[in-house]
């Protein structure tokens, strides 16, 4: 076991050096969650998924607020849950720092007493608990808030106090539930950057639950995508962003995603399940070489909306190997570009510049031609 990262020998400090190993099943009503999550000490894992995917259930199970139906949870050499042996450590004994989405600061206590709460109820003397609380507030640069009540804090301040309170409880595992969701857009931008820095000071495993892919990418070392109570993808942020495993992830990271089977490996031809075909020559630099899968292998094909060109007349035979037609189903103005939804075989989302939109004079229902270079089309084996 390593020494605590903040290095003070005061009472109650526990070595925060143990990895989280969780392999759990939780059955609640009609919903069941089956997930495996291993997080090393010092590592930040983002659990990304839509509402109802089971993210909060996982978080509550890890925190001991919900019993697991199956499996084990261990942190370092401590076993918190073991369904087979009937082991269940209550939340109060878990040493878990949980930052709730709605912060849940105690409204009747000052910021300092909120932060000192854990040490005090765990048997520390009040002056010691407060001294430690002040130190943690100082570490997060919010000492000046110590005497305030939670009702007098802005959203960003409350978020920092909630994190300070969790860190001050000497946790072995840090859990954050949608840490930025309750903030307005501008504060979110500001806090997101500094949150990563604060999380880096914690020596134990950290798990951040979020439905915001950007938050996951910025905060986490690794991302686990949860859908319908199952892990559908796990990997470093760049890999998840480039090779989404499901339509949900593809939509989050803004890619067109198709399922199909590779029918010709020499041309990279993939026949799509929903009709149409695409030639893929693109590959990941991460692959360390172009891995050519066997014919008939189940494939996923990803195309960025900016890699597709749109024409109102049949384009001349160019270099693009993928050409297909469709009709404009909708137009949406984004901040710096226009997103065009096209119904065709296959359907596609295409991003063009406002200037291009003006040139093309696109209308809903209009017939269009789409092209994409094979080098811009990435095919990779479907997981599972």
């Amino acid at each position: 076991m390593t020494a605590p990262s903040d290095g003070h020998p005061a009472y109650g400090t526990l070595p925060a050096g143990g990895a989280l190993r969780a392999d759990v099943g939780v059955v609640r009503g009609g919903f069941d969650l089956e997930v495996r999550a291993d997080v090393r000490a010092g590592e930040i894992l983002a659990v990304l998924g839509p509402n109802g995917a089971g993210k909060s259930t996982l978080l509550r199970a890890l925190a001991g607020l919900l019993p697991v139906s199956r499996g084990r949870v261990t942190v370092g050499d401590q076993t918190w849950d073991d369904a087979d042996r009937g082991t269940f450590v209550p939340a109060a004994d878990r040493r878990v720092g949980l930052v709730f989405q709605d912060y849940r600061l105690f409204p009747h206590l000052t910021v300092l007493d909120n932060v000192a709460f854990s040490r005090h109820v765990r048997g520390g003397r009040r002056p010691d608990a407060r001294a430690h609380g002040l130190e943690v507030l100082g570490r997060l640069g919010i000492s000046e808030l110590a005497a305030r009540r939670p009702g007098q804090l802005s959203g960003g301040q409350a978020q920092r106090v909630a994190l300070a309170r969790a860190l001050a409880s000497d946790p072995r595992l840090l859990l954050l539930d949608e840490p930025l969701a309750a903030l307005d857009a501008r504060t979110r931008l500001e806090i997101r950057t500094e949150l990563r820095g604060y999380l880096a000071t914690f020596g134990g495993p950290t798990l951040v639950v979020t439905h915001d892919p950007l938050e996951a990418m910025v905060l986490a070392d690794r991302i686990l995508v949860l859908e319908g109570g199952r892990a559908v993808q796990e990997g470093v942020p760049a890999a998840v962003a480039r090779r989404p495993a499901t339509e949900y992830v593809a939509r989050l990271v803004g890619l067109n995603l198709y399922r199909g089977a590779m029918t010709d490996r020499s041309t990279g031809r993939v026949d799509l399940d929903d009709g149409g075909r695409l030639f893929a020559a693109g590959h990941d630099p991460d692959d360390g070489g172009h891995v050519v899968p066997l014919p008939a292998t189940r494939m996923l094909v990803a195309v960025a909306p900016t890699a597709i060109s749109i024409y109102t007349r049949s384009p001349d035979a160019g270099s693009a190997r993928n050409v297909w037609t469709g009709t404009v189903a909708g137009l949406e103005l984004l901040t710096d570009r226009v997103r065009v939804a096209v119904d065709g075989t296959p359907d596609a989302i295409v991003d063009i510049t406002p200037a291009a939109l003006a040139d093309l004079e696109l209308r809903t229902g209009q017939q269009v031609w789409l092209t994409a270079k094979a080098t811009e089309v990435t095919a990779y084996p479907a997981p599972g």
């Binding site: 109060a92 709605d102 105690f106």
Partner: protein, 286 residues
């Protein structure tokens, strides 16, 4: 407050338009105004009568001569003991009613709050059957200790507690129910055990409601008459609290009854003033 609410939708219009809207909102139509005035007169006249016909000149003498001082002392002491008992056992009961998910709790809640609607005299009879010398529990108490509760000062407290505690339980239960259970979860993740969480988080959060419930309970105990006179009797100095003293005085010396009533009225008004923020706000419910 009401005026602000009325002006809200009119914001941005001309001042005269605002005035027209608020005036229209305030004018009371006579089919409502007349009965309302009758109701006000009906409620106020008895109080006016008491003030007009009160024997003001003889007041000090009457209060000194009758058992008023003794009855008032007994009332204040028993109502206070009742309130302490009600807090000690009623708050945990409120917690169980608010937090337990057992189905039987719904039935329990109905039974616990029954004294709120039960005629107090019936409560007194029921208390005799339970804690009287031949009652189902009182019999054992008498056999084992030779002690019997009825017609003692303790009986006054028992009768008052039976009638007044539900007020405290209902008030505190409502507060616990609306108190954020998420804060209790937060306390648990910070290492607080359930009893610590209750003491350090839940109780401070419901403190205003607990205070209101305690005052309400105390006021109800102070005015208790039916159950007390049935179960404890009307012995001056032992079981004769203020309401019983008023009742006794009215049969023998009506001016004394009025004087005693004025004392109770003063206490009641003081309670109303104490509770004004919680109970007299428009829209504030039990």
């Amino acid at each position: 407050m009401t005026a602000d609410g009325d002006q809200e939708p009119a914001r941005g219009r001309s001042p005269s338009a605002v005035r027209a809207v608020t005036d229209a909102g305030r004018r009371t139509p006579w089919p409502l105004g007349v009965p309302a005035a009758v109701a006000v007169a009906f409620l106020l006249l008895p109080l006016v009568g008491m003030f007009v016909l009160a024997p003001w000149r003889d007041l000090p003498r009457i209060l000194a001569e009758t058992q008023a001082v003794e009855a008032l002392r007994l009332s204040l002491v028993t109502a206070s003991v009742t309130t302490v008992i009600s807090v000690v056992v009623g708050v945990p009961l409120a917690w169980v009613l608010a937090r337990s998910r057992a189905r039987a709790v719904r039935l329990l809640r109905a039974l616990v709050t029954l004294p709120l609607v039960l005629p107090p005299v019936v409560g007194g009879v029921a208390l005799l059957l339970a804690y009287g010398r031949n009652g189902i529990a009182g019999r054992w108490l008498y056999d084992w200790t030779g002690y019997q509760i009825p017609f003692t000062t303790a009986a006054v407290v028992v009768a008052q507690t039976f009638v007044a505690m539900p007020f405290l339980v209902v008030t505190v239960e409502g507060a616990l129910r609306s108190a954020d259970a998420g804060l209790e979860e937060a306390a648990a993740t910070l290492g607080a055990r359930p009893v610590t969480t209750f003491r350090r988080v839940t109780l401070p959060l419901v403190a205003p409601s607990l205070a209101a419930g305690a005052v309400l309970c105390w006021a109800r105990a102070l005015g208790e008459f039916g159950a007390t006179i049935t179960f404890a009797g009307n012995l001056p100095g032992v079981t004769q609290a203020m309401p019983s003293a008023v009742y006794r005085a009215f049969e023998t010396d009506p001016p004394a009854a009025v004087a005693l009533s004025l004392v109770l009225l003063t206490v009641s008004v003081a309670v109303l003033v104490l509770l004004r923020d919680r109970w007299l706000r428009p829209g504030a419910g039990l």
